[in-house]
Symmetry: C2
Subunit: 303 residues, 2 copies
């Protein structure tokens, strides 16, 4: 099986994992959690979002979190920014990288950002320009590439157009999102084969959700096609706002299990990751849905 | 992606799914559940086990279940038999096929069957001979191929030896089991590439458990190698006796979702499968762990 030797796992739990959580988690607990994550060997942690707290109250303390965490030299600490105002707060927080986001489908973009796709481009253009002036790298997220909760299937042409515009703006990396976790391996192959004609594999990441259980099969397919950067959230945090209670993000711990078994290097310590998982679920006072946290929680032995 | 056009899904929920359940389910409920499964388009249902009720009290009503279900012509109704005595009860029950079982690893075989691997062969030989005389087809199960709860990794040579002996006895199909759900796609490829040198793909089935979340990725790999028969249990019933509370068998409903999305035919109606899942979880008074049953249970919309 042709697989990359090394894979970069980008931990999005503190942002994408927590953003749908209703129960407020204290700033202190978030900071301690991120500090623990910093000791696992992860090279990338998305720590929060500078979206207006009215939209995501849980992440209203982004600035405090960014200022309080202990940073390690070799880790990129990133945060989501929706617009120039968010960027200014992110710059004040001195994050290493900012992430901008939009959707491949018109209706999801409208519901999520309150703008059409065309109206979104200039807003993000401004963010990218200013971030670059401040010597920050910029990551893009494109949502609903594999399916939209309002429109169903999404045309690859829509995706290509948005990807192209984002790279034209000067982003450094683009994360291809299966926002509602509907993708299957054949579809992943179709989408990535199309993207491959225009974009560099090294500039693309895959962001899978495990709503329907297919996330690891999708990762495998992407790896077989030479992709080597994956977003995940410890413990499978995150849920799916469109299927309440369903599984959330691809779980970092489950991803690591598969990669380790296949001798793919990540540089991440599985034991420390599980310890950090135990920490945050204790603070959240609920059990996390990933397979490995479930095994741990139920006292099962690791085999 | 090179995938088989058609896949046979063998439903093992009424046997492998229920055998670890402590709370007794009534014979009537089992019969009604199997009758519902018979209406989904499944071509194969393993309905129970003729292991002595002392070992699996839950399946002590195998004979009653077999006699009470409404059988459909085009469905193979199978049951597990451990030895000649079990076979005689299975013949009385007039099942279409009997399944024999043993392990690839010595310690698991000893704990499970109370015999060494060498001592097991003649017992099963007798079962196969008598079943054949009675014109029944015979399925073999080989457990712990991808890892043993007592020994860890299992050598492929052990597996090959047991597979070979079972086919020499005259079994019609052999199901290759990841009993504790530890397999990863690279390992699946290694094992299947070895088996492929000696055995016909059409005579092998794959039996994955989803303990660590890798079952669908493993199915994908097996399909890419041309394998097209998979065991699964509706709702992911089954648990893992070695990691209490962990995920059980690969879930039929989750498997169908992935196959359907990839345009692989199974002949099975996904809606009816979910209805049958709702039925048995209501009777068991607990929610089933598969992704699709979880989405249903939490009132999420299917996307």
């Amino acid at each position: 099986m042709n697989l990359p030797q090394n894979v970069t796992v980008k931990e999005v739990g503190p942002r994408d994992g927590l953003q749908n959580e209703q129960e407020m988690i204290s700033t202190e607990d978030k900071v301690e959690w991120i500090n623990q994550l910093s000791e696992t060997g992860l090279s990338y942690i998305e720590i929060s979002s500078f979206v207006h707290p009215k939209w995501i109250p849980q992440l209203g303390d982004a600035l405090e979190v960014a200022k309080a965490i202990k940073r390690k030299e070799d880790i990129t600490y990133a945060a989501l920014v929706p617009n120039r105002k968010g960027l200014e707060r992110a710059l004040e927080a001195n994050v290493d990288e900012v992430s901008i986001f939009m959707s491949a489908s018109e209706s999801h973009n409208k519901k999520n950002i309150n703008k059409s796709i065309e109206e979104t481009f200039p807003v993000l253009q401004e963010v990218v320009e200013e971030a670059k002036q401040e010597h920050k790298s910029v990551r893009g997220y494109i949502s609903t590439v594999f399916g939209c909760p309002y429109e169903g299937p999404v045309s690859i042409d829509h995706t290509l157009k948005v990807c192209n515009e984002l790279f034209e703006m000067g982003i450094d990396e683009l994360s291809i999102g299966d926002t509602i976790g509907v993708a299957n391996p054949v579809q992943v192959e179709e989408v990535l084969t199309s993207l491959d004609k225009y974009f560099d594999k090294d500039q693309l990441a895959l962001h899978f959700h495990n709503t329907h259980g297919t996330a690891l099969a999708n990762v495998l397919t992407a790896m077989q096609l030479g992709y080597h950067t994956f977003d995940s959230a410890l413990g499978g945090l995150g849920g799916c706002p469109y299927a309440k209670g369903a599984s959330g993000n691809l779980a970092t711990d489950d991803l690591l299990y598969m990669l380790q078994g296949m001798n793919v290097n990540t540089g991440i310590d599985h034991e420390r990751i599980l310890e950090a998982g135990k920490y945050i679920q204790q603070k959240m006072n609920k059990s996390l849905p990933s397979h490995h946290m479930q095994i741990l929680n139920k006292g099962g032995a690791f085999l």
